[in-house]
Symmetry: C2
């Protein structure tokens, strides 16, 4: 009984944080057609049907393999069945990297197996493996500070800890250990690299993902320990710095192979108004069925576009694009932008951060189309989505279009669970919450409806930095 | 402001459930020495030190292997360092089963890999594996109902779903699919069995564990799919009953080997008053470091006994027993009871259900020592532990002593998380909550203190059914 009056009295004293003081859109009205389409999408079953079907009937879809080809065939059948027009595959070739055997065992002082997964583009050990002393770097910065040549004949262990953020911003910073750590260690003489997984869980599944080599650097074996195994190794390093490891990693790079992107159309009435591109990526890593990365993304954006396909014909044509080969380096997105560079695009956007609720959006339109952002804001507010202060333009697959000056809408999903499972064997259908998936479909439906029918015409946007 | 009065008014109307109406111990006083020892144990660091050390410095400890032998050597050093008396190993021989390669892949209709782990004592496929059609049994009962011979040449898939219970009682019923399902399927002609893991999670790690073969039945390959993989297979069976699987399992049974149980003593003042046996098991499955199963159990009971070792000498001698080879079939417990059958034991108890809070206790003393249960009840109540209505006598390792008429105290840990990780690769140190571990030590300290110093003398108890 004391709590309520105190809490009520407290409200008057709460300062409005600076972020809430930015200009609000004021008296912008929501188009009733948009509101109706958005709310109908909260009962959507198409997205779940797509991600359930793709993950069940195809499973993992490693880029450049026959599994990704089966996924493309599945996508064509599904998109045609949904009624999309001009469903087709646009192909390109790409280097293919496949996982081999992967084993690690502490030789001394405390013999035991560790669980790890090779990073994409990792080099290989001989089939019998290598044995070498391990050098422990608690953070990525400690690796940077190691003198040149100091790692000769040694295995570098980089154990920087990623923490959970809603916007996923930890990935860029902590991910450096994976993106460039092996390359740096190789240049300092290391014979192999093991990193603490770039993940926010404490479990036993390692998080794979690509690593990058600069020209002239020969790829060395590089793998991610599960977070639990990295913590175990840290406990051992707390007792001694004399740790040796036997490591076997036998991934292979195959000859360049064909991959492809699946494209489908919602025809618009005004070919000169520019095309909207929306989608996600069809390929997955090989350790799981890729439900959150990125079966959900193709499912969400396709289900939203399907609602425009089944409604009054929009002004602008929408292309639903299921990009190929995103994981190994964005080959599908790069090929798409190259092939379509001469066309006029009104907007592009992608969904590639799981299936949890969208909590924030950002846009990047030129001033002549500035009002579109305000219309999106009032349409998304009932879904619990606030407007961010950033310039939109995220995404590996549509990033190359943004660089060409295509306008952008980012719908940011909540990432508090995403990096528990990202690139692990746990990326499976059970991680998808159907209710949150529907909120995503509703948000994308509203965005597509608003942008596809916007009366404005606009030119190029200034790409974000 | 409305909520509080309503809630207060409601209290008068709440019926006391039947379970709360059993006789309470009334005005039994807690011995101040017991209360002091119990409360001091809430700051215990010994248990965490043991489980951290054992899991870090030894790792997995599969029964009958060199890893279990290293664990025994580690235990001897640790128990001597803690000041226990007469630290020694009691050996026996046992059959040894070790895991081999394990792979499963759906051949059709939707080719994809599944994650599984062989069950203990599983038979083996040829090295190249077998391919066979899969027959789906949603429950164990469906398997029982299958006609003899109906599984000839087929792989049986038993997918009964275990649900969470605080007392772990689902394990006995749902676990039948693992304990005896493969044996039943073999008798009906199956060439192999895959079961949905006996676990309450939805993750990708399979739960291993022993399976049993009756005389005359040749073991067939038997493995547990992760729950997520079983759910995936169920989704495929929802589309078609024509599923074929390629299965490779190459476990081996090695020649009988030596295993052993580590024993340490807290000397008592009255050798005729009978000995107390308390402990857990030292061995673990091979997939993880066995933190909750059962590093925690040996740690908790040893830390509690250490508090009596460091206090006034108790009336009764306490033996701390780290049983060997529990997982493959209770070899350590059976050997211990056989070797010590002629001795007088005042009580036995074990901790083998993780490290979460103890929420309930049961006892089994003869009438002449009935008051001990009441004294335990008032001493444990401040720890949030209520008295159950069952006859104590649980435990694979001390079970053979109970059959000899030894009195029992069961301290039941909360099992709401236990079967998420039980027998999987996730059974690692991070699953131990140090605060809950200390509550366990405090409860065992109180129990040991009360029983070791009980003035009563008593004979045999009637074993539970």
């Amino acid at each position: 009984m004391r709590i309520a009056p105190i809490a009520l009295a407290g409200i008057a004293a709460i300062a409005v944080p600076a972020i809430a003081q930015r200009a609000l859109p004021g008296a912008v009205k929501v188009d009733p057609a948009v509101a109706k389409a958005r709310d109908a999408a909260l009962k959507d079953d198409v997205a779940y049907d797509i991600v359930e079907g793709l993950t069940t009937e195809v499973g993992q879809r490693l880029a450049g393999t026959e599994a990704e080809a089966r996924a493309r065939a599945w996508a064509v059948v599904k998109l045609k069945a949904l009624g999309f027009k001009n469903v087709h595959i646009e192909t390109y070739t790409m280097p293919v990297w496949v996982r081999g055997e992967e084993k690690a065992e502490i030789v001394g002082p405390y013999p035991q197996k560790l669980t790890l997964a090779a990073l994409g583009r990792s080099g290989a050990t001989p089939p019998a493996g290598i044995t070498a002393p391990v050098v422990y770097f608690p953070t990525f910065n400690d690796l940077l500070a190691a003198p040149d040549g100091s790692l000769t004949g040694k295995i570098a262990f980089i154990s920087n800890q990623m923490k959970t953020t809603q916007d996923g911003s930890g990935y860029g910073e902590y991910g450096a250990a994976r993106f460039v750590g092996p390359n740096i260690a190789a240049k300092k003489g290391a014979v192999a690299v093991i990193i603490r997984s770039i993940g926010t869980d404490h479990g036993r599944w390692p998080h794979t993902g690509g690593t990058n080599w600069t020209p002239g650097v020969t790829p060395i074996p590089a793998a991610a320990l599960s977070v639990a195994d990295a913590e175990q190794l840290e406990r051992i390093f707390a007792r001694t710095d004399k740790v040796s490891l036997h490591l076997t990693l036998t991934p292979r790079t195959l000859p360049d192979a064909e991959s492809g992107t699946v494209v489908a159309k919602v025809p618009g009435t005004d070919p000169k108004a520019g095309t909207i591109v929306v989608g996600g990526h069809l390929d997955s890593w090989d350790l799981a069925t890729g439900a959150i990365d990125d079966g959900a993304g193709v499912a969400i954006t396709t289900a939203a576009a399907k609602r425009l396909l089944d409604g009054p014909r929009p002004r602008r044509t929408i292309r639903v694009v299921w990009f190929g080969a995103e994981e190994p380096g964005g080959f599908g997105g790069a090929a798409y932008a190259k092939a379509h560079a001469g066309e006029t695009f009104a907007m592009a956007g992608e969904s590639d951060f799981g299936a949890d609720n969208i909590w924030r959006f950002n846009v990047n339109f030129p001033d002549s189309a500035k009002a579109i952002g305000d219309r999106i804001g009032v349409a998304l507010a009932p879904l619990g989505i606030t407007r961010g202060r950033e310039v939109a333009g995220d995404g590996t697959d549509v990033g190359p279009l943004f660089k060409l000056g295509v306008s952008a809408v980012d719908l940011n999903q909540s990432g508090t669970r995403y990096f528990d499972w990202h690139h692990t064997a746990e990326d499976t259908l059970d991680k998808i919450d159907p209710e949150q998936l529907r909120q995503n479909v509703a948000a994308w439906t509203a965005v597509l409806w608003i942008v596809a029918n916007a009366p404005e015409d606009w030119g190029k946007a200034t790409p974000k930095d």
